[in-house]
Symmetry: C2
Subunit: 406 residues, 2 copies
Amino acid sequence: MSGREFFTARTLAEVRAGFRPAHRTPAERVPLAEALHRVPVAGITAPADLPGFARSTVDGFAVRAMDTYGASDALPSYLDLLGAVRMGAEPDVAVRAGGCVAMPTGGVLPPGADAVVMVEYTAETMPGTIEVTRPVAPGGGLVRADEDVARGGVLAPGGRPLRAPDLGFLAAAGVTEVAVHRRPRVAIVSTGDEVVPPGTARLGPGQVRDATASALAGLVADAGGEPVIAGIVPDEPGALKDRLTALLPESDLVVVSAGSSVGTRDETAGAVAAVGDVWCHGIAIKPGKPTLLAECAGIPLIGLPGNPLSALVVFGQVGVPLLWRLAGCESPPPQPSTRARLSRDLASAAGRLDVVQVGVRDGLAEPIFGPSALLSVLTRADGYVIVPEPATGLDAGTEVEVVLYR
Amino acid sequence: MSGREFFTARTLAEVRAGFRPAHRTPAERVPLAEALHRVPVAGITAPADLPGFARSTVDGFAVRAMDTYGASDALPSYLDLLGAVRMGAEPDVAVRAGGCVAMPTGGVLPPGADAVVMVEYTAETMPGTIEVTRPVAPGGGLVRADEDVARGGVLAPGGRPLRAPDLGFLAAAGVTEVAVHRRPRVAIVSTGDEVVPPGTARLGPGQVRDATASALAGLVADAGGEPVIAGIVPDEPGALKDRLTALLPESDLVVVSAGSSVGTRDETAGAVAAVGDVWCHGIAIKPGKPTLLAECAGIPLIGLPGNPLSALVVFGQVGVPLLWRLAGCESPPPQPSTRARLSRDLASAAGRLDVVQVGVRDGLAEPIFGPSALLSVLTRADGYVIVPEPATGLDAGTEVEVVLYR
């Protein structure tokens, strides 16, 4: 227990604005079925017009719009039924003045027609004659050949994770493979002589199972990364440095889940300084102050606090946006949240951002306090409230935004 | 184009309350690393107390709290330094009256001690003597042996998808495998003679690529299901019925993405009626009215409208909650949302729920209109606004909740 820590903490805003390693994962091509939430390296454009032909959007009759002008129940237009369009087939009949062609929804508009009148406003009064009781404007009842997207238009923008409807739009355009950023590989290194693998059935005196690595792996997966659990490094001089040196070349981000004593923290700081440039050591956030950020040959490294709760809070605030950026996405997807009223006063120091775990019930956010050594504080919470840096606290009854866990 | 449709539409609330097939997916055991967002079949309990020993939460000195009472900068307590606790090891020294033992964060509390005073409030004024300048209460600076959870206590409740921190908590307790509901298998059947696979390079006249199946697969995956794209069924009598009969035994949910013409819709309704009980044909929702719900030998079936946009809206409103329920989760995880003001009036019929796609910019929700045949309406949207059944519309400027896509 040699020293104490003296470091100037950076605010979270400073970290987000200033700690921006330029590394991005390279592109890879993946089939559409594996592209959900992946980030296109560039805008994906349409190889051809969509739908590619003027297409009926209703069941009804293809007409020349002008033939229906003025039509009403009292004074219908009467049109000759010239034929029918079959689904998925080229029309074998054209529409001429005073004529119409029966159309299924989705059918190809026949030549000569410029609108489709809905079947609801028609009746076949005599065989071969269709009575139309409502006018339709040109373009009514159909989509144009390039109305969904014109050739060369953007199907999905670069830098924004692909959503389910995007996959549909790409499929419609015949794009079955997309160039996306490779998932960032995140090496998760645990340290501490007291830390043993989760599979350890019986704990020795003072031992704890590695909780942080499994939880971090979940957060990494949720943020589109590929977690690589890289084991537990003992508190021996040089051991962590050696492990980091081996992991850096095959990682896009390295996360060190530090032992929680001052001794292990010093060890981590020393090892990181030996393999890269420390950007800051300390963030003005509670819990989570003793966080270390570094860049090692272009690869970002986060040294997390030893307490699991603190580690997960910091990774959520710092690691998750960083992870999305590594995959080419500057604005991470929105998180679920709700408005609620604080059930009690929250104290906070000015200049420090507080992340407070809360349960939410009946519109009331109830803070869950407890040592950050306890994971149960986090698993009992429905989400968290942020008390921003300038605030010295929030009064009971204040309406707050609760970011919800999912 | 034989008939028109006459059906009584159910409201979405009626569907959610009334269409509740009892089928649940069976349990399976999965390793922790694959358990993220999976639904435990029952509460998972702790096999032993956690952390299992009284554990220091600070760097400092284990003491008998009473020996520090009244201590201050002006009048410190002086304690004999009896030894030190090593991380991950049984203490080899006890604390007696007037004595203290050096403690790292996370160390095992030695016998005789009932609190840990933080190193910040101490100084080693003479070798072997520790000066304490602040009192500590019994239990201060430590967590009890069962403070995170007591043996038999709940680590994670049944029925709620596991979140990243849950994985950490389970790992801490040595639970490396969990019993969860199998992912619901969702067979996605497309119909329509005009529909061709997304890989079709060149479209024939009137053909469209199957967009809905790919997008649905994404929605299914997002809701924790396992999509099974079951191909395109031609509009031939009996073809759909045969396909459904083959798919039902190996599926937990069957989704038919219907052709969009009246003819294919009739075909779908007939095939479904032949293999199960139709629960309703028509939901009072726009877009999405011509939706069919059925139960086939206990397995739910959703017949979706033919337009991709309508199909995806309905699946989001009806299929997603159903899918979670099949996996044992009654309350789906929260979705991201934001409050915004409507940029313009929205009209709606009373008794019908409208799902309106919107873009969101600077706190303004801008409705995106367009035929529901266009997928681009959906991919251009940031989310949607719901105009509930009783409303006849919403005025421009109304503050609305926008459910955001992620």
